[in-house]
Point group: C3
Chain length 107, copies 3
C-alpha cells in the first residue's frame, strides 16, 4: 500500500494544532485527526509519571513518512516525542491517491 498512518502525541492542543497544520501546509501530511486529550502514564528517569497529552493520527504517503516523523520531532517540545509509523494494508484507491497527491513535492 502506498500510504501509512502516523500516530504522534503532543504536549497540548495548541502544539498539536500548530504542528498539525504546518505538516499539512508543508505537504508532509495530507490530513491529521487531532483526538481529544488523553491521560498518559509513563516511566521517566525511574519514576512513574502522568500527564495530559494530545494524540493525533496523520495520513501520509509511504515516501514522505520518514520526513514527516523527522519534521514533527524537529518542531516538537519534547526531546524524544512519540511519533510512530503504522503500516496500512488497504485503503480506497481514490483515497490513497489523494493522500499521495497532497504530500511530497507539488506536481
Amino acid at each position: 500500500m502506498t500510504i501509512v498512518s502516523v500516530y504522534a502525541v503532543f504536549a497540548d492542543d495548541e502544539e498539536a494544532a500548530r504542528i498539525g497544520r504546518k505538516m499539512v501546509e508543508e505537504r508532509f501530511a495530507a490530513c491529521v485527526n487531532i483526538l481529544d486529550p488523553c491521560a498518559s502514564i509513563y516511566r521517566w528517569e525511574g519514576q512513574i509519571e502522568t500527564a495530559n497529552e494530545v494524540p493525533a493520527v496523520f495520513k501520509t504517503g509511504k515516501e514522505t513518512a520518514a520526513a514527516l516523523v523527522d519534521r514533527i520531532a524537529a518542531l516538537h517540545s519534547y526531546d524524544t516525542p512519540c511519533v510512530v509509523v503504522w503500516p496500512v494494508n488497504r485503503a480506497l484507491p481514490a483515497y490513497a491517491n489523494w493522500v499521495c497527491q497532497s504530500t511530497g513535492k507539488e506536481t
Copy 2:
C-alpha cells in the same frame, strides 16, 4: 494473524453510529469503537481546511476487511473517505476467534 483493525473517519456522530451499527449487523465487523470527535486539518483542492469529524476503530477478520472498507465507502457521505486497514500482529486467540465468528457468513 487472522484479524485486522480498520480506522475510519466519519462526518459526525450520527453517521459513525449509523454505519458502525450496520457493519456489525451485516457481519462486516465484530465490533466498532466510536471515539470522541476529533479536529481534522487537511488539504482540499489546494486549500487548508478544518473540520470536526468522528474517528472509529473497527475489528474484523482479514477475509472480510476488503468488503468492510467497500461497504463503509458505499454508505459514507464523502466521495473519498478515510477507511484504512491496520494489520494486527498478535491478539488473544479467543478474541481473534470471536472476531472471525462474528464476521463473514453466519456459520
Copy 3:
C-alpha cells in the same frame, strides 16, 4: 522496528488507569495513552450490544508485546478483551531506545 503499539479497550476509566499504571510499573509497557471513553457497538451471543468503554494505546518493545497482551488479559474484567498488537514501521531511534529500556528486565 524494535517497538510496537498495543491497542486495548477497557470497561471504564478506573480499569484503564489501574491496569495501565500496573503495566508501566511492572515494565510491560513504557507508556500508555488512555483515550477518552468511546461508544462501542458489538455482536455478543447473536445480539447487537452497545457499551461505553475506554480505549488505550500502549507502547512497548517487540520482545515484551506478547507478555503485555497476556498480562492485560489476566487483569482485565472481560474474559475476551480486545488487546491487539499494531506493528510500527518507523519511530525516532531515541524514542525506540527509551521504550525498550523502559520495558523488560531492568538493565
